[in-house]
């Protein structure tokens, strides 16, 4: 009895061994497959991660490649310092000076800041420190909604309300003007100014304010002389963010600014860097089109500069927070 069993066991044993070996082999194979899959997925994710870098490279490269020729052809000095922008000159003598647009963009942005920053900052103080919680929550919702409204809607309201208003108020033949654009921009940057400065004010340690109150300062003195200075880099970030928004906005101000390349004046019809591109891109050709890409390049450089400043403030903020 024993022998046959043993005999029977032995082949069985080898079969089991074989099976185990086979299993080991498939496990090995599976593991290899799994490793391969791991490597593959890692590569896929790496590629996804590099897409953003790729986009930035493509944007910079294409703007430089298509922006430089026109500057070269027109001449650096004339392009940047001539106040004549007349690419569609009838007598065949076009001129490409973008100084009016650079100045308009700077003035327009500065104007929007002068109006928007104080109001936005005071509103942030109101929401963060003074308003009761329910009122603040409701206003915050509405301000968020304000941020979500498309820019063309602001442009439309500006066209229908501000432009006629300015025309009547100042007795002008047309109300399309830098002033209208400045007001539209000021309204458009309010949400970001309010929310970023509010976050900064909220982050001020409660102890600072309590100490100030305990020393006999009034609430308002505390908010403006203790809380605001403590939150200053966050508020600065809000301002820079607003500058970025304002200088990059195109469609809303295209609808209210009048789009004539005058040197900037508050009640004059003006053309911004952005509105030059948005307004003329659809029909421009040849050197004119290339010049629009050069304007794009100038705008890009402005934005990169602003971003660098913004990052500086945000980094500083992080450090203070940590």
């Amino acid at each position: 009895m024993k022998l046959p069993v043993g005999k029977a066991e032995r082949p069985g044993g080898t079969a089991a061994e074989n099976k185990a070996a086979g299993q080991a082999r498939t496990i090995d194979g599976r593991r290899r497959l799994k490793d391969l899959m791991e490597q593959f997925m890692k590569a896929v994710f790496l590629v996804c991660g590099l897409v953003a870098v790729g986009f930035v490279l493509v944007i910079s490269l294409y703007l430089i490649i298509s922006g430089i020729p026109a500057i070269h052809q027109v001449g650096f000095f004339e392009f940047f310092f001539s106040s004549d922008w007349d690419p569609a000159n009838k007598s065949g003598n076009p001129s490409y000076g973008i100084l009016p647009m650079i100045l308009t963009s700077i003035y327009g942005t500065a104007g929007a800041m002068v109006i928007g920053v104080p109001i936005g900052f005071l509103m942030a103080v109101f929401l963060s420190k003074i308003a009761n919680r329910k009122v603040a929550a409701v206003i915050r919702e509405v301000v968020d909604l304000l941020a979500g409204i498309p820019s063309v809607v602001y442009g439309l309201v500006g066209m229908m309300v501000l432009v006629p208003g300015i025309r009547v108020l100042f007795g002008l033949p047309a109300g399309d003007s830098l002033l209208a654009a400045v007001i539209v921009l000021a309204v458009m940057i309010l949400p970001s100014i309010i929310s970023v400065s509010e976050t900064a004010l909220d982050a001020v340690p409660r102890e600072y304010e309590e100490a100030s109150l305990a020393l006999g300062a009034t609430e308002l003195e505390t908010y403006f002389r203790v809380s605001a200075p403590a939150a200053k880099s966050g508020i600065a970030a809000a301002v820079v963010l607003g500058v970025g928004r304002a200088i990059g906005e195109a469609m809303a101000i295209l609808m209210v600014a009048g789009n004539v390349a005058n040197m900037p004046g508050l009640l004059k019809s003006v053309k911004f860097l952005t509105t030059a591109i948005a307004g003329e891109m659809s029909y421009a050709g040849g050197l004119h089109r290339q010049a629009l890409f050069s304007i794009g390049l100038v705008l890009f450089l402005f934005i990169m500069l602003i971003n660098a400043v913004l990052n500086m403030f945000l980094k500083k903020n992080d450090k203070e927070g940590g």
Binding site: L46, I59, L63, V125, G148, I149
Partner: protein, 298 residues
């Protein structure tokens, strides 16, 4: 609070009391200005737009001969662009966020990618329009089409998706990952079965925010997706459907609004479109709050 602060101001010098009162007045004045402004904006748009809004306006294609005004093409184009953009940007953005939080080991590479993302986030839309025109419409030969528009919007919405996904990936507890790895799963398996499912609400929030940006965008789409107000010819088969996406061009809601207001000076339909946009913005805000609230609860 009010009572208390009044009693405090009583004992103050004139200068300090004046300061207190002025500042308080300024704060309340700006709050009032902003509230009035908001109420005016909403009220004005609704008042001028709603009378023109009708089922016919929303559901028909405009026809000069029949005298019909309609924004159906704009609605469909908007939907098209939103879907096409999300299909492309979602895998890219989520993958990028996964790389940054789960895989990346090289600090320099991470900060490079983050710098690129921030740069994209701060870029004005008119730049995306320019680059979209050269790269997608001309260089890649897509012409002025909804697809070219969608590609350009991918560049614009990528940072939004990356940022929100990253935020939610960071809230997944480290112990989940360790548990999964300790049970013998590989990294990809862990990401697929543990990390991604628990960060779905962040991804959803990102999508909602991206939809908001896409619906509100006008400059990019005006130049890359066209300004036509006609309904594209959509084929009946799947293949033709996609072909029409490649070929057709047309105005989305925002571009249609611009068309009505600036090119035709036809303001009543423009305000009606503005109301539609306002409603969409409102819905997106609510959706984002809900999704974000769920995220925060965790």
């Amino acid at each position: 609070m009010e009572q208390q602060s009044k009693s405090i101001t009583r004992g103050l010098s004139h200068r300090r009391r004046a300061y207190d009162i002025t500042m308080r007045a300024l704060v309340y004045a700006s709050a009032a200005v902003i509230c009035v402004l908001l109420a005016f904006l909403m009220g004005y748009i609704l008042l001028r737009g709603i009378p023109h809004l009708s089922w016919e306006f929303l559901s028909s294609e405009e026809s000069v001969i029949k005298g019909i005004e309609g924004i159906l093409p704009a609605l469909i184009n908007t939907l098209y662009v939103v879907i096409a953009t999300l299909i492309i940007v979602l895998p890219l953005g989520v993958g990028s966020a996964i790389y940054l939080t789960e895989y990346a080991t090289n600090r320099r590479l991470v900060s490079l990618i983050e710098f690129a993302t921030e740069t994209l986030a701060g870029m004005p839309s008119i730049i995306f329009a320019l680059v979209g025109v050269i790269v997608f419409c001309e260089f890649m030969g897509l012409g002025i089409s909804l697809l070219a528009g969608a590609f350009s919007l991918v560049m614009m919405t990528l940072p939004t998706i990356i940022r929100t996904t990253q935020e939610s990936l960071k809230t997944v507890p480290q112990s989940y990952r360790e548990g999964s790895l300790a049970l013998g799963s590989g990294k990809w398996h862990m990401v697929r079965t543990v990390v991604l499912p628990s960060s779905v609400d962040g991804i959803v929030t990102g999508c909602i925010l991206a939809v908001g940006r896409i619906v509100g965008e006008s400059a990019v789409l005006m130049f890359t997706a066209g300004m036509g107000m006609r309904l594209a010819k959509y084929g009946d088969t799947f293949g033709k459907f996609f072909k029409s996406l490649f070929d057709s061009s047309g105005a989305t809601l925002t571009v249609a609004l611009y068309n009505y207001a600036k090119e035709r000076a036809d303001f009543e339909p423009a305000f009606a479109v503005a109301v539609v946009l306002l409603i969409i913005a409102f819905l997106i805000n609510i959706a984002a709050k809900l999704a974000g609230g769920r995220l925060k609860k965790r």
